[in-house]
Symmetry: D2
Subunit: 105 residues, 4 copies
Amino acid sequence: MVQDPVLDELRQFVRERDWGKFHTPGNLAKSISIEAGELLECFQWDGAELESAKEELADVLTYCLLLADKLGVDPAEIVTAKLEKSRDKYPVEKSYGRSAKYDRL
Amino acid sequence: MVQDPVLDELRQFVRERDWGKFHTPGNLAKSISIEAGELLECFQWDGAELESAKEELADVLTYCLLLADKLGVDPAEIVTAKLEKSRDKYPVEKSYGRSAKYDRL
Amino acid sequence: MVQDPVLDELRQFVRERDWGKFHTPGNLAKSISIEAGELLECFQWDGAELESAKEELADVLTYCLLLADKLGVDPAEIVTAKLEKSRDKYPVEKSYGRSAKYDRL
Amino acid sequence: MVQDPVLDELRQFVRERDWGKFHTPGNLAKSISIEAGELLECFQWDGAELESAKEELADVLTYCLLLADKLGVDPAEIVTAKLEKSRDKYPVEKSYGRSAKYDRL
């Protein structure tokens, strides 16, 4: 089990409210999408609401940490593992300065 | 500036590819929503594709870390700060075992 | 029940494949979010993939029509009803040329 | 140009408020994702808020119609065209009663 002070606080917050029963992986994935939409709303038209964006980003991250916990994975490890794959899919010489997807490089 | 080995790796990955120019806060917020949708796809119908979910979660987290970096905030700090607010909005005695939003408790 | 040739085709497509059992309102709402993410991907970085955007928009619309059907509402009617509300929330004289939300006008 | 009474009303609503300048295809795609997230929120935990869902669905549809208009396509036509493709990707005999993606049939 991942040891992390923030995760410990999140777990306690959930446990104290008996909310674990709502936190199926599917419901957490929905929650991540919902909060991602609220984050995007800070950048909907012209301008950007950066202070609100920080709060909404915190909400996305919170549900990400809870889902990682539920899936039994360490957030830092899965990010690092994915980065390793991305290094292969996007070699520097082919992707330098370009936003094209790997299958169009 | 947040010091974190994973963030350092992400920064280097971006820098080596000269991708920083694409990473405006608005574009990163879009990317979080896009990846959140791919994560949700692992739970679209019946069943759940948990192995794919871990990879998609890694993608959401990656863009969250990059956006936090761009906004100059520490992921752990904003999650903790938001949790503090949530404790006030969802007092244990009112929210125990209930999924209602704070304005309907 | 709404009569509409496109909806009739969609219903038949679903019925022929016995997919109605997957199409709970919640699953259709997830599907709309998932397809909305794929649509957004056409506008992720610089540039825009307009041909792909048309296809992804079709996917979003398809699930919207199926959800409206499931909820027993007519798409044209709910759009018109919502527009009526928006006219009240966004009076021309206050909202002209401004992207501010109604509670900040 | 697509002729449709609902679209005419939407166009007039936008024109009266001089909001056309905000309605780039990219911004409309973001708006669809944002509203799709609000729709999904009606199905976040247990239960479903069906009345709210109708309103949020109306919002998603509204932005879909505006984006179709901006891209110069007829909503009914693109849905029908996509359905034609889906019939090929999901032959009845392979996909009957199954939620698997076409590349796993």
